[in-house]
């Protein structure tokens, strides 16, 4: 799961996570993520891991960094919201 999300973000946002750009970097603050990319990322996660974000979830400062996204997706999939891409 981790690599799928990481690969997606690296390819979509033209970045490379490393010691200079750690996984807990706020992607909005760094200008990596904009509204267009945010919507695309949400759609990717929903499709890949088989769950839907509620509106509250999407507005709750959840998807701001790779580490937060990863933790959140782990929590969602552990809740049994399995689907086509669930692990």
């Amino acid at each position: 799961m981790s690599d799928k999300i990481r690969d997606y973000i690296e390819q979509q946002f033209l970045i490379q996570f490393d010691e200079d750009f750690p996984e807990n970097t706020d992607l909005f603050k760094e200008g990596v993520m904009d509204s267009f990319g945010y919507v695309q990322l949400c759609r990717f996660l929903e499709k890949e891991f088989g769950f839907r974000f509620t509106e509250q979830e999407m507005t709750g400062n959840i998807l701001t960094s790779l580490s937060r996204i990863r933790a959140y997706v782990q929590q969602k999939t552990a809740q049994g919201a399995g689907g086509p891409g669930a692990i």
Partner: protein, 652 residues
Amino acid sequence: MCGIAGFHHAALPGEDYPALIQGMLGAIAHRGPDATGHVLTPGSALGSTRLAIIDIEAGVQPLSDPSGRYWLCYNGEIYNYLELRAELEAAGCSFQTHSDTEVLLQAWLHWGPDCLPRLNGGFAFALLDRESDELILARDPWGKRPLFYAPHGQGLVFASEMKAFLALPGFSFEHDPEQLASIVAVWTPLPEQTGFRHIHNLPVGSWMRVRGQERRITPYTQLDFQARTRVDSEAEALDLIRERLRQSVALRLRSDVEVGVYLSGGVDSAVVALLARELSAHPLSTFSVEFADPQYDESAQQREMAALLGSRHHPLSIRHADIVEHFPAAAWHAEIPAFRSAFVPMYLLSRQTRAAGIKVVLSGEGADEAFLGYDLFKETLLRREWAAMDEQRRQACLARLYPHLGHYGSQDLAALTGLYQQFAEERLPGLFSHELRFQNGRFSARLIKGGGDPFQAVSALVAAAPGYDAMSPVQRAQWLEFRTLLAGYLLSTQGERMSLAHGVENRCPFLDPAVVELAAAVNLRFDDGMEEKRLLRQAFREQLPDSILHKRKFPYRAPDSAAFADCRPDYLDALLSADELAKIPFLDGKFVAALSRKIMNTPAPEISTKENQAFIFLLSIALQHRYFVQRAAPPVAPTVSPLGRAVDLRPR
């Protein structure tokens, strides 16, 4: 309209003055193909290349006072020159010509720098006082006309376009990574920025006194959005809008040559065209860009408006391939990196306009800034209230602000809500209104290595702006729009640099001081600002067709990176060849390679706005580096302007 150029105590050999000033003027001869003229004094040269519009026979430049002490080279138009002339004549001044150039000279001699706030127009000028050996440079309040200068030896050189400096031996261009990072992050240069080290743009609304090595810049006007007109009702506001715009268009129709109109398909240029038709003695000529790609095209509204006006309409059809073919020439004329390709069609439109025999056009620029036409203003209003709103109200406001979102479903509205949540509080002091835009600008700033904090310069600009702190969030947004996007792109790169590439002068009736002041007095007084330019639409609702009156703001755009990926022109080697890229040391090679690869290999709908912008910035920087820093041959043939007046006042 003209171009001006010159030098003042620069490190240049005296025997070469005639060739040097002619070389500088030759580089900008496209701005004024009718005649060049210059005056040489010990240590100085001033010249102009003229597009003759008012008093065609007698308005030759440079112009001196009868004593020969003062010499003026002037670029632009003073629309209220007849009124100023009457005032000056009443004060005892006498005139030899009917030109606005002489009015400007006499106004300076009579009032000194206090004449500047009296001038209603778009202008830049250089005035030499031979007795005190002082040089005065000045520029209009909006950024209609440019004036660049650079220190040179113990003095300086100046010109309407930086390419004039290429004619000076030993002058070298060097991009400044800090300025470039700011430009790409903010979308446009700040008032003094040019992207090049040591070259400055004289800030709009300022004048500079040059005496020896001393240079002092003084602003003569402020953009304060103070309501000076008392307006008690909406009906009164609508009457005043009609009256002041009519007066503004009438002033801008003063010309000894025919004045045409650029029709965009939106409400602003439609209003200008309506008034121009009403006030013109001859049938109107209108000009429009049509796009083969329907997502950018507004030809239906343009043609409907032209039919309503009964104008001689000249549509110009633009394909992807046209943008790609002419991008290098347009980037050469623009000189400063651009964030979108929409300036290229304007370059071609001015060519067509000139070919149709028109050398002055009116257009709708300034209406969005003055009458709150951009989504950015609505977003600012909404974000300011965000924290105090409940979820239901937020969703309702977003749905009103972005009606097209309904097509995509509630999940996208939720995503947008998430984004607003991120930007509900000010993070960059003083820049609240622009933080969404600027955050996206950070992506483009990744192009530049060693650029530092790309928002440091704009933060310093607003911190130093008189009265800025006291402005409302929306007024601050307006101030930033006037000083960045309007002056730094719409009026310059997309505006006068493109029109004057083919000797066409553009005039903007919405940028009349009386119109902008009135807008400040009526904005948000009679509505909540969520319907853009509502008062302007209301004022002309009886005369405009519904299709234009009720059309949502349609930003003028042109095909961006997809056009280049489709056509793959040879000059993309500037980005795709590692050897070529290595010639531009301040670009982040890794990021540039990743961006170029993505643009070239990804279907257009999957390219985001910020990626498009970063790519157009990158391409314009690379080409401008090639022409200015590496001094490759320019992509356009030089224009020749005949020598009309040469005055040599140096001792023999």
